[in-house]
């Protein structure tokens, strides 16, 4: 270190300024810690190098939870949105998912502004090439500029920059996303510190000029009339500003792609990284689903201050000429002018099983990890981890217990438990079906589930907390009112007929009416009286869902109780699994590696069978009896 210059000391240093890095840095600074966030290029702060949207199924839930916990993503997208849509409205509220198209540039500038204005937070354009480790504990970072910073905790959020490599056909370039410089030295040094790395891959489609497209051949996709904000701090949003467009590939497109399979980096064998199944390139789709006659694609605006459009559904690593050829076979895209060709990107990441549930690295103390570096995919997944890594880094250096969200408490809990406990063989994406208790973990009640927790660890602002308390009270009051407010059969005869639901014989409560699938909370206004409060969007939704799904929610609460039984059976961290008779070798190895905190967590480790869990339960029972015998003597 003698030859390097000490540039300062921070409580928390964050490497990376993407969606994970921003949330981590903001959380740490807001919790009162002196924080610095590094990025190779500050133009990359909260950059959206792939799709121009935030949210969607499962992901929308994450954004709401991030918001409820005092994160920034929800607030920022509410500022930068140009169109919003609630997905799955034909289904029940548990799987309603909000998605907003973003003005990418605005998303970046708004987030940057927030960071610039946050006390305790510094931001620096500077490549970090190494971390400083002493006695197994991280203590700083080394810059490319021959200087270093000391820090009590470091958060790694390197996204796809780490030894990034971009593939277009046979052309391979060492590069970060969107033409930014990659981070190569850091990867080598992390390995030297004993952090094993592996390769993952993802891709992005081409961008083209909107003026070169013929929208008359596509189907317009407008935003919702009723625009719903992501953040619980906002009750309403401005107007939709733009549309998306739907069109389809055809046999001709597939023909061009097939004829050029051999020129794809994907099939050429240059790419060693594993790509996600849910985000296949178009050549992958054509190859794997050969009998599918067409694939849909959405043309989405990149922002309001640009004519560039994103071609969703068409990522590719085919050469530029082939890309142009096949894009032009698509109705509406015949004359397209590509501004940025599609590419595949490969990068270094860790096996998340090397992390604790707090997102602290198992090998190096006070080193926290978040985002794509942990093997996930998606802005929202990254932001969620960044937030939790930020919170837990602060708690750790303050000598406090980490904040760990259970699978029964949050999608974030499911996300992190899946990553850390089960690991992943591909970039991990959240899905509502990964969540066992999705009836309870809705996007509409994220604040009721999480804001209190965040307030207690010192992140959620007083303003947010008070809003939450007020909403909670308003909801409870209104639910009680609807339960007790009775209406007579004659008063509602017309109303019931209008909404095509059966007549009643005797008086019925408004709550019971609301339980009928045909009737919404809004509908009740027609027969309600002046005692009906004027509830804001988030509270009204809450009232509706709580009453409508009461019975199912109770069912799920019982499931959670059963779940908690296994989660409550704790396993000591220093338990020697090789001493437990009856465990299969694979199970023994996996358990020793992951060191689950409970039987519940152990049961989710792949390679640990129900039989192994029985062995563990028997072992615990034996230990318990031994302990009791000990006491008796």
């Amino acid at each position: 270190m003698e030859d390097k210059i000490l540039m300062g000391h921070y409580d928390v240093a964050v490497i990376g300024a993407g969606h994970a890095g921003c949330e981590a840095a903001l959380a740490a600074a807001r919790m009162g810690k002196k924080t610095i966030m590094f990025s190779i290029n500050l133009e990359a702060v909260a950059m959206m190098p792939c799709n121009p949207s935030i949210g969607g199924t499962g992901k929308g839930h994450l954004v709401r939870e991030i918001d409820a916990l005092g994160g920034e993503m929800g607030i920022n997208i509410d500022k930068a949105f140009i169109q919003t849509k609630m997905l799955n409205t034909a289904k029940g509220p548990a799987v309603h998912s909000l998605r907003a198209q973003a003005d990418k540039h605005k998303y970046h500038t708004e987030m940057k502004k927030t960071i610039e204005n946050t006390p305790n937070l510094d931001m620096k354009q500077c490549e970090i090439v190494d971390i400083l480790v002493e006695d197994g504990k991280v203590c700083g970072v080394v810059t490319k500029l021959n200087s270093y910073y000391t820090a009590d905790a470091v958060i790694l959020a390197t996204g796809t920059f780490l030894r990034g490599k971009i593939f277009v056909g046979s052309t391979v370039t060492s590069s970060g996303p969107n033409g930014l410089a990659p981070s190569n030295e850091l990867a080598d040094n992390l390995k030297k510190h004993g952090i094993p790395l592996r390769r993952f891959k993802t891709g992005t489609p081409a961008r083209c000029l909107g003026s070169s497209l013929d929208y008359s051949k596509m189907t317009e996709q407008k935003g919702d009339e009723e625009r719903v904000p992501f953040s619980f701090l906002n009750d309403e949003l401005g107007e939709n500003q733009a549309s998306c467009w739907l069109t389809y590939t055809n046999e001709e497109t597939h023909g061009v792609i097939r004829a050029n399979f051999h020129r794809s980096a994907l099939f050429g064998g240059q790419i060693e990284g594993i790509g996600p199944r849910y985000c296949p390139s178009i050549e992958d789709k054509v190859n794997r689903f050969a009998d599918k006659k067409r694939h849909q694609l959405f043309v989405e605006p990149e922002g309001l201050d640009t004519d560039e459009m994103y071609i969703q559904g068409m990522s590719s690593s085919l050469p530029e000429d082939v890309q142009e050829a096949f894009y032009k076979t698509i109705p509406g895209l015949e004359n397209l002018r590509i501004t940025r060709p599609a590419y595949a990107i490969e990068y270094d990441c860790i096996n998340p099983q090397d992390l604790k549930l707090s997102l602290e690295n198992r090998f190096i103390e006070n080193l926290f990890c978040a985002g794509q570096f942990n093997g996930s995919s998606g802005y929202e997944e990254a932001a969620a981890q960044g937030l939790m890594a930020g919170i837990n880094a602060v708690l750790k250096i303050s000598g406090k217990k980490p904040l760990i969200l259970g699978r029964n408490e949050a999608y974030i809990g499911v996300l992190i438990d899946d990553l850390v406990t089960k690991g992943t063989n591909e970039p991990y994406r959240i899905m509502t079906s990964r969540c066992e208790y999705r009836l309870l973990l809705r996007q509409d009640n994220a604040d009721l589930r999480l804001t209190e927790k965040s307030y207690q660890v010192g992140l959620a602002s007083k303003e947010r907390y008070e809003r939450f308390l007020k909403k909670k009270e308003a909801v409870e009051k209104e639910v009680a009112r609807l339960e007790s407010k009775m209406v007579k059969p004659l008063e509602i005869e017309e109303f019931l007929e209008k909404h095509q639901t059966s007549q009643v014989q005797s008086s019925i409560s408004l709550a019971d009416l609301l339980r009928r699938p045909q009737i919404t909370y809004k509908d009740l206004e027609e027969i309600d009286d002046e005692t009906r409060p004027n509830l804001a969007y988030h509270a009204a939704t809450q009232v509706e869902v709580q009453i409508k799904y009461d019975g199912y929610i109770k069912k799920q609460l019982q499931q959670i109780e059963r779940f908690n039984k296994l989660e409550g059976k704790t396993l000591e961290e220093d338990l020697d699994y090789s001493k437990i008779e009856g465990l299969r070798i694979e199970a023994m190895q996996k358990l020793s590696q992951i060191k689950p905190g409970s039987i519940g967590q152990a049961s989710r480790i792949s390679g640990v069978s129900p039989a192994d869990i029985n062995v563990l339960l028997i072992y615990l029972e034996k230990q318990r009896r031994k302990a009791e015998d000990g006491k008796a003597n």
């Binding site: 792939c50 799709n51 969607g56 199924t57 499962g58 997905l87 799955n88 289904k91 029940g92 509220p93 548990a94 799987v95 998912s97 489609p205 389809y248 996600p276 199944r277 849910y278 985000c279 296949p280 789709k285 794997r288 689903f289 599918k292 067409r294 694939h295 849909q296 959405f298 969703q312 559904g313 990522s315 089960k422 899905m431 509502t432 079906s433 990964r434 999705r438 009836l439 699938p517 799904y549 199912y552 069912k555 799920q556 008779e581 009856g582 299969r584 049961s603 792949s606 069978s609 129900p610 039989a611 192994d612 062995v615």
Partner: protein
């Protein structure tokens, strides 16, 4: 590492030969210390070798034996296994086991070989349970059913049903998680149709459970009738031995007598009951109470009537207890003059099968009784040798619960409830059926979603 275990694998007691089984990593080494092969060559995999067991401590020869070494993992426990076939005397078995234990093995707990086979993943849960059934098999038929389960036919059946459920779940999941994708929308009509398919399959399997239970646990048959009408004779005829005390003094059978007997390969638990007459005798009164209890729990009641004496109050009392029940009426002693009113019985017991017999003298009609029992077990159908039977109570309960979940899902589908609510019930049944074969849900659904649908940006 698990310790090597050993036990006498054949049933305890005197026999022609006996087998000592040793399983575990050290099995080969342990036997190497105590087995002296005649040929001088060491034990080879899967070859029976002749030699002697010699106690290395004393150098004393214990017994002449045949030993077989089977190498892991292709053994019952998937561990190294050595089996020593020795003479069947109790002394010989015990001495060999002792020597084995002294040289490093631990005595196996009951069922531990099977437990290891299960824990090592060679048997799934239903197969492991089948082994326990095999060991306890009461008749040839039970043995066959257990054998079927061991071979995994029952598991296969469960897996097939789970596959149907998985197909549905995958469709539901993809519809929920990918609302924007170009995939076929799942209609309530289709969902209902698919759920019905699952329901039928579970019901089909469940319908075998009565037969299955009977085959495993035995058919409960209660024999009832007034004293001295020939109940004990019937029982003895079925048992082929004089077990009950047969005299012509009414009230000889003072207590219920239970016997197990195999009738055409079906295990039958016969209960010979005391009559149900008005009596002052305290002991006999207790017997009568027991009679009532035992025929209340019976799968089948055989009501024996003396055709040579008129029906009386006591017969009437029995008849009134038997209305609406599965009954075989044995119209006994038909070689004597007929005095009992058969028409009256037929009028009262409409579901009864009436057989005319003369059991004391020539066992006339006994075959008919046996035929009737077989017919009842197989529900009047020709017995299907190939059908898979549900024989285990745990399995039946899980199937019942699984069926309930599917039925709930169908109801909700009919009401056009939200898909994610219906999914809870479907998923529930998938998990319940998984518990039968000890399989967890894990990542099944998500993996299928991605292998079947073309999704993503």
């Amino acid at each position: 590492m698990e310790k090597t275990i050993a036990a006498i694998a054949t049933s305890f007691g005197e026999g022609g030969i006996s087998i000592i089984r040793i399983s575990g990593d050290e099995a080969y080494e342990i036997v190497g210390k105590i087995f002296v092969p005649k040929s001088g060559k060491p034990l080879a995999n899967r070859r029976m070798t002749y030699g002697k067991i010699v106690d290395p401590k004393t150098g004393e020869s214990v017994d002449e034996v045949l030993a077989v070494y089977t190498k892991a993992p292709h053994t019952y426990t998937t561990e190294d296994v050595v089996e020593i076939n020795c003479h069947g005397s109790v002394v010989s078995q015990r001495r060999i086991l002792e020597v084995v234990l002294e040289n490093g093995a631990r005595l196996a707990e009951p069922g531990e070989f099977t437990k290891r086979a299960f824990l090592n993943g060679r048997l799934d849960l239903s197969q492991a349970e089948a082994v326990i059934d095999l060991i306890k098999a009461k008749s040839v038929k039970t043995f066959d059913v257990a054998m079927d389960q061991l071979e995994g036919r029952f598991s296969t059946e469960i897996k097939n049903i789970r596959k149907l459920i998985l197909d549905i779940l995958v469709n539901v999941t993809v519809n929920i998680d990918y609302p924007d994708e170009d995939i076929e929308q799942l209609t309530y009509e289709n969902l209902e149709k698919n759920l019905y398919e699952v329901k039928e399959e579970i019901e089909k399997l469940l319908s075998t459970s009565d037969t299955g239970r009977i085959i495993k646990e035995g058919l409960n048959v209660a024999i009832i009738g007034k004293p001295n009408v020939g109940k004990s004779s019937l029982m003895n005829a079925l048992l082929n031995e004089e077990r009950a005390i047969v005299t012509d003094i009414a009230g000889t059978t003072r207590d219920t007598i239970e016997e197990m007997v195999n009738i055409r390969d079906i295990p039958v638990k016969l209960t010979d009951t005391a009559g149900i007459r008005d009596t002052q005798d305290v002991i006999e009164k207790i017997g009568i109470e027991k009679s009532k209890a035992s025929f209340n729990s019976a799968d089948l009641v055989i009501f024996v009537v003396d055709s040579s004496s008129p029906l009386d109050e006591e017969d009437d009392r029995i008849i009134s207890l038997l209305e609406d029940r599965q009954v075989i009426v044995i119209y006994n002693k038909v070689d004597l003059a007929e005095k009992a009113d058969l028409g009256y019985i037929q009028g009262k017991l409409t579901k009864a099968t009436i057989l005319k017999t003369s059991l004391t003298n020539n066992l006339k009609g006994l075959d008919q009784v046996k035929d009737k029992i077989v017919e009842l077990v197989y529900g009047g159908k020709v017995k299907q040798e190939d059908s898979v039977l549900v024989t285990n109570v745990r399995h039946k309960n899980l199937l019942d619960e699984g069926l309930k979940s599917i039925t709930d899902a169908i109801e909700m589908t009919k009401m056009h409830q939200a898909l994610e609510l219906i999914e809870i019930d479907i998923n529930n049944s998938y998990e319940l059926l998984g518990q039968i074969i000890g399989e967890a849900v894990a990542e099944d659904i998500i993996n299928e979603v991605f292998s079947r649908f073309c999704l993503g940006k």
